[in-house]
């Protein structure tokens, strides 16, 4: 057996090397250029040196999940032919005001390098980065081929920056401004698109609050015949919407403006008939202040709808039920909890193809609220929607039994984000911790990639997670756990863990240090308001030089406490742009 197989192997090797030497790089590159997934590309680049080179020359899109894990110079050196960049900056908890201002993640240094190395850059997609108006202007004038700009949860810029983009980017196809901390100085930026400009395909300014020049918008939409995504802001009225849709019935994604103007019968009928002409519409959002009586105008447009975002429309259960009756193909649904459990029952009844559900709280801070959704609504959806795999659910009560039923009905969850809004709240029927709920999730849902836990949780939850969540990549924990052991279980299990974010948990230095080897295989770790001390962080920094260990101190806190800790791997070394409130150890 031994000699035969080694002979076979040797002959195979020589065949392969013969094949390899006659295999032109151009062909390899051509083949590899068809690879889109950056994970596949990473795997490919590890095969051998030839493949590494072929891959780097053929890569046109680079995804950088943590802007500080690498420097723009390193990126430019490795990938000479990039045309599209996706960059993410601040830790996710910055969305919830947990990260100090001026923390960093400024795009400008990247733009400067890109202007030199990638003059033909076409796309830039940023998430949680800081970007100034000056940077936007620099972007607009440095890249003549620039096509697509997408900003999600970014800050530091104003509508003046948008005006620069509109003015200078002659080939712009996409301008997507979502949920940013933007300084809205007015809507005149939209008038900056020149008359000759016709290439826009995606326009999303739903995030902005001020009025835009409707005339300019109408003309813009009229001359951009390829427009397929249009998301308006709240200042656009129903009547104006109708006029826009007349010139853009080809829209695939529509975000309406305010859906509550007083309409005459005639105007309403016009709206209805215009909407019914939108045969391509698969995504609908906006619907600010939606009045129930106008929703039927949407019905004809809903037959092919796959994504319905009602998270800014405070609908009641009956209104939602009626609307959903017309949306049989729905795959993704975002709603406010004003629809209550009855509304969710309607989801279960009408949307058998549903894959994603997000329920947001309409009034998250009111302690007198007596409505919203409960475990019953979630259970109802699970019975009617077996394909459900992504859920984000804000509620005020939950039980272990309900979650067990839900995952039994829907075992394919990849993203399970449950937010019981009252921190540390137990199963309201049994008064027990919610350990068994999340135990059921990780045991049943073997494909689980992302998990957010809430409610009263002991270390047992984390034992379950560590033991069963073999595909888990992202874990968010708040107000949970009893001791270091909980966090140790997670760090000791979960082989695919990449992002771990923890707040207000009793995990201390022992837990932090138990993950020493793990952190290098992860993108990042966030711990705030836990029991970690400066000494613990210093030890971590000392033991793991390839990790950046950053501590953010609160005003007036104890010197020895590490109030907020952010740990991430980096090949660029410690960053030099940290503000004084961020200590790099």
């Amino acid at each position: 057996m031994g000699s035969y197989s080694s002979e076979l192997k040797r002959s195979k090797d020589s065949d392969e090397s013969a094949r390899r030497s006659s295999f032109p790089d151009e062909v390899l590159e051509r083949v590899l250029s068809l690879l889109k997934s950056h994970r596949d590309r990473s795997s490919v680049s590890l095969v051998c040196k030839d493949w590494y080179n072929a891959e780097r020359w053929s890569r046109t899109h680079v995804f950088i999940g943590n802007c500080y894990s690498v420097s723009p110079e390193i990126v430019a050196r490795r990938f000479p032919r990039i045309r599209s960049v996706t960059l993410k900056g601040k830790p996710r908890f910055s969305d919830f005001n947990l990260v100090p201002e001026n923390w960093g993640a400024d795009i400008h240094a990247w733009l400067v390098v890109f202007a030199a190395k990638y003059p033909f850059l076409e796309e830039l997609r940023l998430k949680r980065m800081a970007i100034s108006d000056e940077s936007l202007e620099f972007l607009a004038i440095s890249f003549p081929n620039f096509k697509a700009l997408s900003l999600l949860s970014c800050d530091g810029f104003s509508t003046n920056g948008l005006a620069a983009i509109a003015t200078h980017c002659k080939n712009l196809t996409e301008l997507d401004i979502q949920e940013n901390g933007i300084d809205d100085k007015g809507g005149s930026w939209l008038s900056c698109f020149p008359e000759s400009f016709t290439s826009l395909e995606v326009l999303n300014f739903a995030n902005l609050t001020s009025d835009i020049n409707f005339d300019a918008l109408e003309k813009l939409v009229g001359r951009c015949k390829s427009m397929r995504v249009l998301k308006l802001n709240r200042s656009v009225s129903l009547e104006q919407l109708q006029r826009l849709l007349v010139s853009a019935p080809q829209l695939a994604e529509l975000g309406t403006g305010s859906f509550s103007q007083e309409l005459t019968i005639h105007e309403y009928e016009d709206l209805e008939s215009t909407l019914s002409n939108c045969k391509n519409m698969h995504t609908l959002s906006g619907l600010w202040d939606a009045k129930g009586i106008y929703l039927p105008a949407l019905y004809p447009a809903c037959s092919h709808l796959t994504f319905l975002n009602l998270s800014y429309a405070a609908l009641q259960s009956v209104e939602l039920a009626k609307l959903l009756a017309h949306c049989p193909r729905l795959k993704r649904l975002w709603v406010l909890d004003t629809v209550e459990d009855k509304g969710l029952e309607a989801v279960g009844l009408n949307c058998p193809l549903l894959e994603e559900l997000r329920v947001f709280p309409a009034d998250p801070f009111d302690d007198e609220i007596v409505h919203g959704v409960t475990e019953a609504g979630f259970v109802a959806v699970s019975f009617g929607c077996p394909r459900l795999h992504y859920v984000l659910y804000f509620c005020r009560q939950m039980t272990n039994a309900a979650v067990a039923t839900i995952v039994q009905n829907c075992p394919d969850f990849t993203h399970f984000r449950l937010c019981i809004m009252n921190p540390g709240q137990p199963d309201y029927l049994t008064n027990e911790p919610m350990d068994e709920a999340f135990g059921a999730v990780v045991k049943t849902c073997t494909k689980l990639q992302r998990l957010s836990v809430s409610g009263l949780l002991t270390d047992l939850t984390f034992e379950y997670i560590g033991r069963y969540a073999k595909n888990l990549e992202t874990l968010s924990v708040a107000f949970a756990g009893r001791s270091d052991w909980g966090m140790q279980c997670v760090l000791g299990g979960c082989p695919k863990l990449r992002k771990l974010e923890i707040r207000d948990c009793p995990f201390g230095n022992a837990a932090l240090l138990s993950g020493l080897e793990k952190y290098e295989s992860m993108r990042s770790l966030w711990m705030s308001a836990c029991n970690v001390t400066m000494n613990g962080c210093r030890l971590l920094a000392r033991e793991m030089p390839r990790l950046n260990v950053e501590v953010m101190k609160e005003d007036g806190s104890d010197d020895s406490q590490a109030d907020k800790v952010y740990v991430y791997r980096s090949i660029a070394g410690p960053r030099r742009d940290a503000p004084p409130s961020v200590l790099t150890l």
């Binding site: 919830f96 800014y312 801070f365 302690d367 007596v370 009893r482 009793p506 836990c530 609160e554």
Partner: protein, 338 residues
């Protein structure tokens, strides 16, 4: 609209249930402030309220009204069908395994946890308070005072699972309840929780402003007063001007400011509605402020009454010491209008 509106909702019929509940409470808690328990029966709220409920509920986002059993605090006094079969008394809930474990975690920790309670020094309390970033709640301009208040309230609230007593006894280092029981109306008592992006929070806030209590032709807004153990609600539509409004508020909150809001000494004035309110409150070292549709805190009295009712979402009677910068303006305004 009837006058002394608050009396409509008290009603003798309710006192019996309130008495029942306050009896239950006093049997399960060993210490409570008698004067505040007396006030229990006077609350305008149509749910059974007592000090403990008020303390607890004020801390937490999304905590439930008593009808919905909030078992973490075990204070619900309404017997709930679902809970009846399970726990004999609310107090039992408090010492169930889960909660003991929870408090164990507090005790067993190195004491650095922000919710740790027993025997904590003031330094740690302050530290805990400071841990809450100044940017609390809907409005990023909310000041750190609010954050400190809210975290202190969180501390008290979290201590409750052990028994109501620790709130009073063990935590003698926690400032007296009255000083901190009312957080300003900004509801996010814990920074960044629930985890909702600012854009959505702000959008919802303006939604609320539009939709709140408008349907019935009334405009109920909450009124909080620093140092008072519970809030009140007033229907702005029942008043025609600042003068009526201010005297109603004065009556409502006089129990908390005995000797300070003394209307008898002030002459009746017609047509100087704004300044009278300022006089009243200026004299009593309180400043009346309100949160407008944009989430900003404004001084009451600057704008015409109609504009005020249009834009007012909630009110806060702020201690003068906190309103440095506002109070002097009030003085000048009074002087100008006199």
């Amino acid at each position: 609209m009837s006058t002394p509106l608050e009396h409509d909702y008290i009603g003798l019929a309710e006192t019996s249930s309130m008495e029942r509940s306050s009896e239950k409470l006093s049997s399960s808690s060993s210490s409570s402030i008698p004067s505040i328990e007396d006030k229990t029966s006077k609350t305008a709220n149509d749910t059974c309220l007592n000090l403990k409920e008020t303390e607890l509920r004020l801390g937490l986002p999304g905590s439930q009204s008593p009808e919905r059993k909030l078992s973490l605090f075990g204070q619900d006094l309404e017997t709930n069908d679902k809970s009846n079969g399970f726990a004999g008394s609310p107090l039992k809930n408090l010492v169930s395994g889960a909660k003991r474990g929870f408090s164990d975690a507090i005790d067993g920790s190195n004491g650095k946890w922000v919710f740790a309670m027993n025997g904590k020094s003031d330094v740690e309390l302050a530290k805990g308070a400071a841990l809450a970033s100044p940017r609390v709640g809907l409005d990023s301009k909310t000041n750190s005072q609010q954050a400190k208040t809210s975290v202190s309230v969180m501390k008290e609230v979290v201590g409750v699972p052990q028994s109501p007593k620790p709130v009073q006894d063990k935590n003698n280092l926690v400032p007296p309840v009255n000083d901190h029981a009312i957080a300003p109306a900004s509801k996010a008592q814990v920074v960044g929780w629930p985890p909702i992006r600012s854009f959505r929070k702000n959008s919802m806030a303006s939604n609320l402003a539009k939709n709140s209590d408008e349907g019935a032709g009334c405009l109920y807004v909450k009124v909080s007063m620093d140092g008072a153990p519970y809030l009140r609600k007033v229907d702005l539509k029942t008043y025609n001007n600042y003068m009526e409004f201010s005297s109603a508020l004065e009556k409502m909150f006089s129990c908390f400011t005995i000797g300070q809001c003394n209307s008898s000494g002030l002459p009746a004035r017609d047509g100087l509605s704004e300044s009278r309110l300022m006089d009243l409150l200026h004299g009593s070292e309180y400043v009346l402020t309100y949160e407008d549709k944009d989430g900003d805190w404004m001084l009451v009295g600057d704008v015409p009454w109609e504009m005020f009712t249009d834009s007012c979402r909630r009110l806060r009677i702020m201690k003068g010491s906190e309103a440095i910068g506002l109070a002097p303006r009030a003085m000048e305004k009074c002087k100008n209008q006199n």
